[in-house]
Structure formats: structure tokens, C-alpha cells
């Protein structure tokens, strides 16, 4: 049980819907997942990863759940398992995807729909400020 997690500061963020704060708990959980992502900043590593993703992931002491989430490109799951979006974005870049594409997969809509939402002014904060507000 994390004490940092218990502090009022960290708890307050948990009221915000659809959002994971990259705090100490997440950072400790996702350390090896995120450090794996950092290796994708080199082209040789990206090629090696593409050639055999499962084998490449085995090189890092991640959990099996984390490896599976990477293989599935399940970004929300990766974030739940401690990934931070700036690190995870390097997987997206390796896949040649735009950031808007990644964002659309996390929000469960097509890239076109996501782009259209942004052009129309983006997601409104109304109804998205707190979990209680959503109920």
C-alpha cells in the first residue's frame, strides 16, 4: 500500500475522470515499461522491436500484463500499468502514427471523429471536471 497514494494531494486527482496522474505510484509501477519506450528513440532499436516485438519486450523486466498491453497497443491499459504518455508516444512514433491517432484510440473514436471534435473546439470541460459531476 502506497503512502504517497494516500496523501490528500494525490487522492484529489483521482476525482478527475478519464485521467491518470503520473505520480510516484504510477512511476514506480511503470518504470521498466517507460524505460523500454526510451530505447525506441534509436533507429536500430526500432528495427529490432519491429522485427520481433515479443522478443524485444522480453529484454526488459516488465510484467506480462505490461508486455501484452504493448503488443495490443492498448494505450489506456499501458497508462493504467504505469506508462506515461510522453514515453508511450515513442511506440506510436515507431508505428508511424500521428499523435491524434493515438488520442483517438484512447478516446474510443476514429481518428476522423477525433479530429473533427478538435476542430469544433475540443472536448468541453463541462461534465468532465469531476467524477461526481458525471453521475
Amino acid at each position: 500500500m502506497s503512502n504517497a497514494k494516500n496523501s490528500a494531494y494525490n487522492d484529489a486527482f483521482k476525482d478527475i475522470p478519464g485521467t491518470v496522474i503520473f505520480d510516484a505510484t504510477q512511476s514506480r509501477l511503470g518504470f521498466h515499461l517507460n524505460q523500454f519506450c526510451m530505447t525506441l528513440m534509436k533507429d536500430a532499436a526500432r528495427q529490432e522491436f519491429r522485427a520481433d516485438e515479443a522478443a524485444y519486450l522480453k529484454k526488459f523486466p516488465m510484467t506480462e500484463e505490461q508486455r501484452q498491453a504493448v503488443l495490443d497497443r492498448d494505450y489506456n491499459r499501458m497508462i493504467a500499468l504505469g506508462g506515461n504518455i510522453y514515453f508511450l508516444a515513442k511506440i506510436g512514433a515507431t508505428d508511424g502514427l500521428s499523435f491524434q491517432k493515438l488520442a483517438s484510440t484512447m478516446t474510443g473514436v476514429s481518428e476522423e471523429e477525433y479530429r473533427a471534435m478538435m476542430v469544433a473546439g475540443g472536448r468541453s470541460p463541462d461534465g468532465n471536471r469531476s467524477k461526481s459531476e458525471q453521475q
Binding site: I16, I21, M106, S124
Partner: protein
């Protein structure tokens, strides 16, 4: 003596850099954004700063989880654009002002800010996109740049109050530097945006507008805003705006708001930009 004459704040959306680098500035999607900086490009041609203290955050480019400095000041002679996964941006090498940077570092440490001194650091879009927006595509950047990298990725970031006070310490440091330099300070990042999870794409124009107003008229009040308000109102990456308070703290209490621009969207973000001149 050196003097801070003006502050600039601007978003540093990576897609803006890509649009410029790929020659898309006249496309319908991007043109309004680049048009919004036309005033600023003219303004800075007249202002001719000698040095810019450029406050930004690294996005897992120079700093991994191995080491996370809260405030890192770049004291090197130069800084290379980082390879963020698609090769480095085709922009000039960033030339530092090593002597002033060290002077600020020393002054701030003796004023009890616990700076990390960095002599070897690549700089990512957080630093280079603002330069591109303000200077376009020159052969060389027209002035020296002191990178000041602030952690806003790993929680907790520094408080707004701490950022505001660091700005004041920077002002004091600059004013005690014995050379006739026209210094600007820039704050970058924001405005409202969220890049993660089901809430990705959040934009809050009302919050952003109030933030710009507060920056001009009530920075001390703004400095009291807790982190959760940034995240709740402006999205998880809206926390970057805390860095704008360093810029504001480095200016005089009394300033003129010279220019303001706001546009939605650039990729996932609200683009905000303001120019403040010391009276």
C-alpha cells in the same frame, strides 16, 4: 547592466513545428496559427533581444526516469535539437550564453533555489517550436538562448508559487550581471490540452482566457492556483502553464500587455500566446 525587457509566452505544440518543417504553413488548418504570430515576428525584429531565457519542459527526450531535475539550467555553449523519434528537427543549433547561465545558476542557488546545472543536453520541441514561431526559419537563431527545463511530467511539478518566485530570483540575477544585454524571458507549453486517456482532447477556452488575464493583471493570485485546478480545468498537460509563472515572475509587477493570440486547435491543443513588456 543586463536587463529583462519583455516576456513572451507561447504553446510549443510539436505538430506546429512539423507543419513548419514540412512547408504546410499556408494550409487552411495551419495558416491561422502562423498568421497569429506575424505581429510577434515583426515585434521581435525590432526588440532584438541578445539573450532569451527559455523556460520549457523536456518531454522524455533529454531526461528519462533515470534522473528528473525539477529545475535544470543549461549552461553549455550550445545545445543540439533532440531526435524525438523522427530525427532531429531541421533547425539551427541552439547557442547558449554560458556565462550568464552560470551567473543565474549561482545567484539562484545562493538565493536557495536548488538548481540542477546542465552542460550536456539536447533540446526538444518544447524549446525549438517557440523559436520557430517567433523567428521563422533562419539559418541561425538571431540570439543566444538559455534553456531552463522544468519538470512537469513526473508528479509533483514545482508549485506555481515556487515558479513565480524562481522568476523573481532570475530577474535579480540578470540585473546583477555586468554586461549591457537585452534579455527576454519566455514561458512555454500549454494552453489547455490533455494527451492521455478517455478525456484526451479537452480544451477550456474560458480557463485559458482567465489565465492570460491573470498573467497580466494578477500574477500573485494566479501563482496560488494548485496543480489540481490546472489538471481539472485545462487537462492533464495543461499543467505546463505553471511554467509561464516563471516568465511572469521575472518581469516587473507593472507590465504592458502588448499582444495576445488564441486559437483552437493545433493537433490536440489550444494555442495561446502573449507578449508582456516591462514598463
Amino acid at each position: 547592466m543586463a536587463k529583462i525587457t519583455a516576456g513572451v509566452a507561447t504553446s510549443h505544440v510539436p505538430a506546429i513545428g512539423a507543419a513548419l518543417d514540412l512547408g504546410k504553413t499556408q494550409e487552411d488548418y495551419w495558416k491561422p496559427i502562423f498568421d497569429g504570430y506575424e505581429f510577434s515576428k515583426e515585434w521581435i525584429k525590432n526588440e532584438k533581444p541578445d539573450v532569451i531565457i527559455l523556460v520549457y519542459n523536456d518531454h522524455a527526450s533529454a531526461f528519462s526516469l533515470d534522473l528528473i531535475p525539477t529545475f535544470a539550467i543549461g549552461c553549455a555553449e550550445e545545445f543540439q535539437p533532440a531526435d524525438e523519434g523522427w530525427g532531429p528537427r531541421p533547425v539551427p543549433t541552439v547557442k547558449g550564453h554560458s556565462e550568464l547561465a552560470w551567473h543565474i545558476a549561482q545567484s539562484a542557488i545562493l538565493d536557495e533555489f536548488d538548481m540542477t546545472i546542465v552542460n550536456n543536453m539536447d533540446v526538444d520541441h518544447g524549446l525549438t517550436v517557440p523559436l520557430s514561431l517567433m523567428f521563422g526559419q533562419p539559418e541561425e537563431w538571431p540570439c543566444k538562448i538559455i534553456p531552463l527545463a522544468v519538470n512537469v511530467v513526473q508528479y509533483p511539478p514545482p508549485t506555481g508559487n515556487r515558479c513565480y518566485n524562481l522568476g523573481k530570483a532570475i530577474r535579480k540575477a540578470v540585473e546583477s550581471f555586468d554586461a549591457d544585454l537585452n534579455v527576454q524571458i519566455w514561458g512555454t507549453g500549454g494552453m489547455s490540452h490533455q494527451l492521455q486517456g478517455p478525456r484526451a482532447g479537452l480544451i477550456n477556452k474560458e480557463f485559458d482566457t482567465a489565465f492570460l488575464d491573470g498573467l497580466t493583471k494578477d500574477p500573485q493570485g494566479l501563482a496560488k492556483m494548485p496543480h489540481i485546478d490546472y489538471v481539472r480545468e485545462a487537462g492533464s498537460e495543461g499543467i505546463e502553464m505553471v511554467m509561464w509563472l516563471i516568465m511572469r515572475g521575472a518581469l516587473n509587477d507593472d507590465i504592458d500587455e502588448r499582444y495576445r493570440f488564441y486559437h483552437v486547435p493545433a493537433s490536440n491543443c489550444a494555442v495561446g500566446h502573449i507578449i508582456l513588456e516591462n514598463k
